[in-house]
């Protein structure tokens, strides 16, 4: 295995990554009638040992970006650099080696675990696939250590997924990723299927593991409070693009993109005093369809700050507006300074597209 020599700086760099899914139609011939622009030009980098949090609403492309990064779906375009190597150029054995170093944790622990496999066999399977299950004693120790790291007793090895509670199953999902000793873990909604009282346990566990092992995380979640808690850097996605990125603290202190402002103002806070005082920015209408994203700024159909012509014509680039704070809005500075005031927006009609199947984040994708 190739150990990198650099210990700081980015572990992962995405450059203009696109993942487009063809929309097929036709009775006799599968004609491509359009594309779902699920991820449409995302550039970001994740530093070693850090947690990058990706937030955004359903269908904005978070999972697809995570999967594209691991090449569980093949990106349409762009570069994915992992530890200095362009992952998209890797084939066969070298891709398999890279895969071991990047593991994924899924939302729904039950549907991502094979019910007929004991925990031991689930964990050994991964080791075998990567040629790491040679020595019996070493393997047994590795399994015990991994279970201990996720807070499960060694007796869990002989049990089956249905014998565990939701939180414990998520621990098994984490163990399955961890047993391969990865450097990067992509966690797609790791706590959203769990009860509130269990979420905290799993979030704490993820933090402990990161501290112990120096792991790098990409955590995908729709819950902003969760992401704010766990991530060092947060990226906000809207309709396939990154609209804002900043350190977790900066983003929550001063959200600059109109969409981020609306998103944050919409998150309920469990404190009546805060709730009573809060001003909400209510967005009009629904998310437009990613098969037919609006021209110009993708948010202009719902943006309370949108300005005539430019917002509808020119797609804003993600640019550094403040130190380490990137925003994709033509008018970020004017909005921050109060020179542009929000206005009413008439909701536009949006149809749920029948062409594209909604992304299913729960299924198990076998790591070859």
């Amino acid at each position: 295995m190739t150990e990198s020599t650099e210990r700081t700086g980015p572990l992962v760099e995405l450059r203009d990554v696109k993942v487009h899914f063809p929309v097929k139609s036709g009775v006799l011939f599968d004609r491509t009638v359009g594309y779902v622009y699920a991820v449409d030009g995302v550039s970001l980098s994740i530093n070693r040992g850090e947690t990058y949090g990706l937030v955004g609403e359903s269908g904005c492309g978070k999972s697809t970006l995570g999967r594209g990064l691991l090449r569980l779906v093949e990106p349409t375009d762009g570069e994915i650099v992992f530890d200095g190597t362009d992952v998209r150029s890797l084939k066969g054995e070298s891709m398999r080696k890279a895969r071991r170093r990047m593991q994924m944790i899924f939302q729904d622990p039950l549907s991502s675990l094979d019910p007929r496999q004991s925990v031991e066999s689930l964990l050994v399977e991964g080791l075998k696939a990567h040629g790491l299950a040679g020595d019996k004693a070493a393997t047994a120790k590795r399994l015990r250590d991994t279970l201990a790291a996720v807070g499960l007793p060694a007796s869990a090895l002989s049990k089956y997924p249905h014998e565990f509670s939701g939180g414990q199953r998520q621990r098994i999902g984490i163990a399955r990723a961890l047993v391969l000793d990865p450097e990067l873990i992509v966690a797609d909604e790791p706590v959203s299927a769990l009860d509130v009282s269990i979420q905290a346990q799993v979030l704490n566990l993820l933090e402990d593991i990161q501290n112990d092992r120096g792991l790098t995380y990409l955590i995908i979640a729709h819950d902003l409070a969760v992401v704010r808690h766990i991530a060092d850097t947060v990226g906000v996605m809207y309709l396939g693009g990154l609209v804002e990125e900043a350190s977790s603290d900066d983003l929550y202190r001063e959200p600059m993109h109109p969409y981020t402002k609306a998103l944050m103002s919409a998150v309920p806070v469990p404190d009546p005093q805060v709730e009573d005082r809060r001003e909400r920015i209510l967005l009009a209408g629904d998310l437009p369809s990613p098969t037919n994203p609006p021209a110009g700024c993708r948010f202009h159909t719902r943006c309370p700050w949108a300005q005539p012509t430019r917002c509808a014509e020119e797609r804003p680039a993600l640019r550094e507006v403040l130190d380490g704070h990137r925003v994709a809005c033509h008018y970020a500075e004017d909005i921050a300074a109060g020179r542009i005031r929000p206005h009413e927006v008439e909701p536009e009609l949006v149809r749920p597209d029948d062409g594209a199947a909604p992304g299913d984040t729960g299924e198990l994708i076998p790591t070859p």
């Binding site: 009860d195 905290a200 902003l224 806070v269 629904d286 749920p352």
Partner: protein, 328 residues
Amino acid sequence: MSLLDVRDLTVVFQRRGERPFTAVDKVSFSVEPGQTVGLVGESGCGKSVTSLAIMGLLPRRGNKVTGEVNFDGTDLLKLRPDDLRDRRGRDIGMIFQDPLSSLNPVVPIGIQVAEVLERHRGMDRKAALKEARELLDAVGIPDPNRRLKEYPHQISGGMRQRALIAIALACKPRLLIADEPTTALDVTIQAQILTLLKQLVDETGTALIMITHDLGVVAGLCDTVNVLYGGKVVERAARHELFARPRHPYTHGLLSSVPRLDSPRGERLHAIRGSVADNIPWGEGCAFAPRCDNVVDACLEGTPPLEPTATGGDLRCNNPVSEEVAVP
């Protein structure tokens, strides 16, 4: 007299060959006109079964419902099925988590609203359609004229939930029961729907029972909050009181385990240990005892009683969190 007064509501599921399971265990609460009452708790604590029992919508077989559900002086549990259906249609509206499964997929939404108006308010089709258009408009569905003719699958999840609210409102219900109405929706759409519900309560004076696992939703909406654990109410308090001074260790634990958007980062979350799988039966003590930091001997000697608190709420706990301990 309260609009709704639920007394000792108990639902026991009994499948052949299985042990009876008490999903709702002597739950009592009341709702005044114009008031919003929250039922919160984790998955499986009995929120939905409580609301289904109130509405008489539990399956006919396999369960036993006891207690009283007094609506405006009538015990709904004693009504004949026909009378109950009538009452329900007229006076109580319900909104579920998944609007798609509660809408008829082959009937345009406008017709679905109109049919309710015809059935329960005796309108003819023409008047009903006109009113349906107004209702769709009132719940914020853009271009209601066109929406009238559309099928549920042709509109977004947020719009479907609005359509369902329009149907629930069609009869001008005096009580609206909303079971996780925004859980399946995105947070910006959730904000739209919650704002809509709040407006409706303010404008129409309907009472609302809000069922949710999200303490944030409760904080912004409910006048009184009932916290359920293992089928029982463990704490009831006015909104501000509950969040400022949660007295039950479970409530306190929940509030300190959720990450908050507005609190300082970097602190470890205070997790409640174990899971509901560790619960002991209420008959043997406090169900929460195996997970509780405050447990004392009495907690394993029978069900702790629900007792009134000095601040007008109720509490089921032998060793409550002291009033001085704020949520971190």
